[in-house]
Structures are given as structure tokens and as C-alpha cells.
């Protein structure tokens, strides 16, 4: 136990020292704190984004669903890889150039100016905060479970430890250090996840490795090797739906904001390469192998969602020495902190730039909004900890993977039409964006709240929440835009012509 705490103490100290160094280094301006001074290069950006995405979900939730339902859920990953790459290939260059030319500090600010609407700014801010903050809370919860499984300490100990670490990192470091720390955290996480996989495979399946694991599964539970899985869950419709939900990854707000921190346009040429090779063909295949092959063969028989969420850690603790389990827990903390820190940065920027300066106090100084951004972090963390409290008192027990895909992603998807249309469609209007977003959000909320006699969400007609809500949002956006006067020539110049000229010129390199 003493070794565990010393190791975790050193790990925390490294993060705190990096945060303090970042504070000393920073220019103390809002642009520096929120956008890392727009200096992030391709390698840092890749680790920044990959580990902003790869939360403790990749260690608990993702393998947990694969364990219970077979490999069908992996279509979420294939959709997400295309979605993330699409963000950098299709939207990224324009969003980055617009933000750089006009010194925008938040993607919601970009859209508020594009559509000339304060109401839209408030609507998008509240919507994004409502869906991102609970997801921040999922991260300390993941660490809490890891702590509980390894040390026997209550769930809240790990959750509070993670929250304190997050507050220090984000308040002191800002976006630049959050990005840099993600490199350190990413290395720890990949080492833990990949190292434990190799080690467990060599111990449990010494004769033929993964082939031996697959052969064992064919004998004990062959349904876990194909769709629809042992419980018949992943039907054709659900796999295609999961794939489409994954494609929506291009509009996760904490990923979109990363685009605005890029140093130059060359980044957009190189990022997809890393997304495809390192993300799609390497990184995400590690938890896939863990959840769909190694864990079910090494430890069959688990049927509850909560136990399945922890199955990778249980296998590691069963077969590997205790000191390595501590390293793995560090990897989980790394994954949780790297994601939650970016989400916290994004949330605090929305609070400070879009709600406080954009609506409540337009004449707030640079110094004031930086201070608001920093201190709102504490409030957001405390609020998000309610997720952990809910689980602790037994009110919110839900498989982690399904929270991401069934709650957060449908919420994030509601700004997709306004975002894509605002950057790529000259005809998109304020009224269209407002009508589409408002209708989509209201439908989503009602759909989640209104339950049928059997407990199902009757307004979704048995479909994934994205499937009925997003088309409604999109159709309204297009129809209302066509029925209302087109945006002014000035908007067209600023948001389309100037950006295109800028991107074609050599000034951007």
C-alpha cells in the first residue's frame, strides 16, 4: 500500500510541476491561457487530441461493452476515426483561419459572429455545458473505481484525488500545459494498456497468443466473436447506428476547440495521417483486443455491466504483479486527467468568453475573463462531482460506455448543423441555426425524460437518440434558412472569401 501511494505521489508531482512551469511560462493573456497562444504543432496536437478523446472510457467502458456484447460496438470507433479525421480535413482549416484572423477564442464565438446572434451564443453555450460537464464527472468516477478495485478505498477517494489534480493543472497551466501534459499522460497510458496486454497474453495464452484466446472463445462462448453478440444486442441496425454516432465525433466541443490552437495550416495536412495510423490502426485496437478477446477468454462468466466495466483491471490484478497494477492505475488516471482537463478548459472558456464576456459583461477586460475562466474550473469540477456522488449513493449506476454514446454524443450533435453550415454554407441564416438547434435540443431533452410503461424512451421510437433528433435539427436549419433573408455580404466576405484567400496564400505557413 505504501508503494502505491509513493508511486501515485510522484506521478501527481510531475503533473503539478509541469502545470507550475506552464504558469511561469505563460504570457498571462486570455489568448495564451485559452488558445495556448495558437502555437500548437502537429505532434503535440495529435497527443493533445488523441488523449483528450481517449478517456478512462477506453479502459473501462469500451472493453466492458465489448466483453458483454461481442465486437459489434467497435463500429463506434470506426465512425469516430473518420469523424476526427474529417474535422481536420474538412472543417479544421477554415475554423482555424477564421479564429486566427479575427482573434476568436471559442468555437461558439465563431458561430455567434457568423450568425450575428447573441441568443444562439447563449443557447449553444448552455447546451454544450449541459452535456460536457457530466462527462467531466465520469472521469473522476473511472479513477475512483480503479482506486476502489486496487486499494479497497472508497470510490470518492480516487474521485477527489483526480479532481484536485485537475483543478491545479487547469488553473495553473491553461491550454498549452494541458496539451503538453497530455503527451506525458499519453505515454503512461499507452505503456500501461499495451504492456499489460502483452504480459497477460504471454502468461494466460502462452502457446499461441491471441489465436489461442480466440480458439478458447470459440469453445466456451462463440457468440462473443461475431455480431449480434451473445445477448443479440448488436443487430445490423444498431451497428450502423453506432457507426453513424461515431461519425459525429467531428463536433465534440473539446475536440473542435483544439483546432483553434494550431500553429499553422500545415498541421491540417499531417494530422489525419496520425489519426488513421496511430489512432485507427494501432491505439484503439488495443482496448478492442482487451475487451473482445483477451478478457472474455481469460475471465469468462461476468454478466453485470459494472463488473464488465472493470474487467480489464480485474484480469490485470489477477495475473500480473501488484506493482504493475499500480502502473496501470496510473495509466487510468492519465487517461482520465488528459480528457477531463481538456473538457474543463473548454467549459471554462465557454463560461468566461461566451457567457460572461459575450452576454453578461461585454466590457470585461482580458485579465478579468482569464480570471473567470480559471475560477470557473473549481465550480465546474464541484458540479461534475455530483456524478460520482450519484453513483456512490446508488442513484446513477450506468455502464460508462453508454453514457458517452447515449447521452453526451447526442447532445454534442445538436450544434453540428449550425457548425457545419456556418463554416461551409453561405446561405445558412441565424433563424435557421436557432430553429434547428432549439428544436433538436428540446426534442432530445423530452426524449430522454419521457419514458413509456416499459421504461423505454418512447419519443425516440427505439432508435438511438441521434437518429430522430439530428435530422429534425438539420431539416429545420436548411428549410428555415431558405425561407429567411440570406446573410449580409459583409458576413460572406469575412467568413468565406477572406478565409479562402488567407488559406490559399503563403502567409499562413
Amino acid at each position: 500500500m505504501v508503494f502505491d501511494f509513493i508511486a501515485l505521489g510522484i506521478f501527481s508531482l510531475i503533473i503539478i510541476v509541469m502545470a507550475a512551469y506552464g504558469y511561469k511560462l505563460s504570457a498571462k493573456t486570455a489568448e495564451d491561457y485559452m488558445m495556448a497562444g495558437r502555437t500548437i504543432g502537429v505532434v503535440v496536437m495529435f497527443f493533445f487530441v488523441l488523449f483528450a478523446i481517449s478517456s478512462s472510457w477506453t479502459f473501462y467502458g469500451f472493453p466492458g461493452v465489448l466483453y458483454l456484447h461481442g465486437p459489434g460496438y467497435v463500429f463506434f470507433i470506426w465512425g469516430s476515426v473518420a469523424g476526427f479525421a474529417g474535422l481536420y480535413m474538412f472543417l479544421g482549416p477554415r475554423l482555424w483561419a477564421l479564429a486566427k484572423i479575427n482573434r476568436f477564442l471559442s468555437p461558439i464565438e465563431v458561430l455567434a459572429e457568423r450568425y450575428e446572434s447573441k441568443t444562439l451564443r447563449v443557447l449553444l453555450s448552455i447546451t454544450m455545458l449541459a452535456f460536457i460537464i457530466p462527462y467531466v464527472g465520469i472521469q473522476p468516477l473511472g479513477v475512483g473505481r480503479g482506486f476502489e478495485a486496487l486499494t479497497g478505498l472508497p470510490l470518492w477517494v480516487g474521485a477527489v484525488y483526480t479532481s484536485v489534480l485537475l483543478i491545479i493543472l487547469v488553473i495553473l497551466g491553461g491550454m498549452r500545459i494541458v496539451a503538453w501534459v497530455n503527451i506525458f499522460l499519453g505515454v503512461v497510458y499507452v505503456t500501461a494498456l499495451l504492456g499489460s496486454l502483452f504480459w497477460v497474453v504471454s502468461i494466460v495464452f502462452p502457446d499461441a497468443g491471441l489465436v489461442q484466446a480466440a480458439t478458447m472463445l470459440v469453445e466456451i462462448d462463440p457468440a462473443k466473436l461475431s455480431a449480434p453478440g451473445p445477448l443479440g444486442e448488436y443487430t445490423t441496425t444498431l451497428m450502423i447506428g453506432t457507426f453513424v454516432v461515431g461519425l459525429m465525433a467531428f463536433c465534440w466541443p473539446h475536440v473542435v476547440i483544439g483546432v483553434m490552437t494550431a500553429r499553422d495550416k500545415k498541421l491540417f495536412r499531417w494530422m489525419p495521417l496520425l489519426v488513421f495510423i496511430f489512432g485507427g490502426l494501432f491505439f484503439y485496437i488495443i482496448p478492442f483486443i482487451w475487451g473482445s478477446l483477451v478478457a472474455p477468454a481469460a475471465m469468462p462468466g461476468i454478466t453485470s455491466a459494472a463488473e464488465a466495466d472493470s474487467v480489464v483491471q480485474t484480469v490485470i490484478q489477477t495475473y500480473l504483479p501488484r506493482w504493475f497494477a499500480v502502473l496501470v492505475l496510473m495509466g487510468v488516471i492519465a487517461a482520465a486527467v488528459s480528457t477531463a482537463a481538456v473538457q474543463l478548459m473548454t467549459s471554462s472558456i465557454i463560461v468566461a468568453r461566451d457567457l460572461i464576456q459575450g452576454v453578461i459583461k461585454p466590457n470585461a477586460t482580458d485579465r478579468q475573463i482569464t480570471a473567470v475562466a480559471r475560477w470557473s474550473v473549481v465550480g465546474i469540477v464541484i458540479f461534475s462531482l455530483s456524478v460520482t456522488v450519484a453513483v456512490q449513493i446508488g442513484a446513477g449506476e450506468e455502464a460508462m460506455a453508454l453514457y458517452l454514446t447515449n447521452v453526451s454524443v447526442p447532445g454534442f450533435a445538436q450544434w453540428a448543423p449550425a457548425l457545419v453550415g456556418g463554416l461551409l454554407w453561405k446561405r445558412g441564416t441565424k433563424q435557421g441555426a436557432l430553429a434547428g438547434t432549439f428544436a433538436g435540443v428540446i426534442y432530445l431533452l423530452l426524449g430522454m425524460l419521457i419514458k413509456g410503461a416499459d421504461g423505454s424512451n418512447i419519443l425516440f421510437f427505439g432508435l438511438h437518440p441521434v437518429v430522430p433528433t439530428l435530422p429534425l435539427n438539420l431539416i429545420l436549419y436548411i428549410v428555415v434558412s431558405h425561407l429567411t433573408p440570406r446573410p449580409s455580404e459583409q458576413i460572406e466576405d469575412v467568413f468565406f472569401n477572406e478565409v479562402d484567400d488567407y488559406l490559399r496564400s503563403d502567409r499562413t505557413v
Partner: protein
């Protein structure tokens, strides 16, 4: 994306990506992710399940299309 629609290479690039998404859905829809009646699950190299194989092929198609277009034809390069 607007710049891609202004020239032939960009249109081909976008068409390849859209077709790959449709192809993925068709492959899933035709039941290739399921175990054939009365047989064992299909495993490539003895361990790769079909959803993994389908995804790897999909990512490779996007990777090749991206490499060709972004390094040879992208107007902002």
C-alpha cells in the same frame, strides 16, 4: 471542404470517402459481421473478428485516399 468541390481531384476524393461509408453499411447490412448458420465465427489469421477486419479495411481506404489527395492535390497545401 469548399475547396475540394472546386476541382476534379477533390470531387473524386469526396466520392471515395462517401462510397466507403456506404460500402461499410452495405457490408454490415448483408450480414457479413454475423456467424454463418451452423458454422464457427469467421476469424482472419485465427483471431481477427469480422467487425475488426471491416474497420481496418475502411481506415486503410480513407488513409490511401487522404495521402493521395492531401499531398498531391489539396489547394491549401
Amino acid at each position: 471542404m469548399l475547396e475540394m468541390k472546386t476541382h476534379r481531384a477533390g470531387k473524386i476524393f469526396l466520392a471515395v470517402l462517401v462510397l466507403s461509408i456506404i460500402a461499410m453499411m452495405v457490408v454490415v447490412g448483408l450480414g457479413y459481421m454475423e456467424t454463418p448458420e451452423g458454422a464457427d465465427p469467421i476469424l482472419l489469421f485465427g483471431w481477427m473478428t469480422m467487425p475488426l477486419v471491416a474497420g481496418v479495411v475502411f481506415v486503410l481506404v480513407w488513409l490511401v485516399a487522404y495521402l493521395v489527395y492531401f499531398f498531391k492535390y489539396w489547394p491549401y497545401r
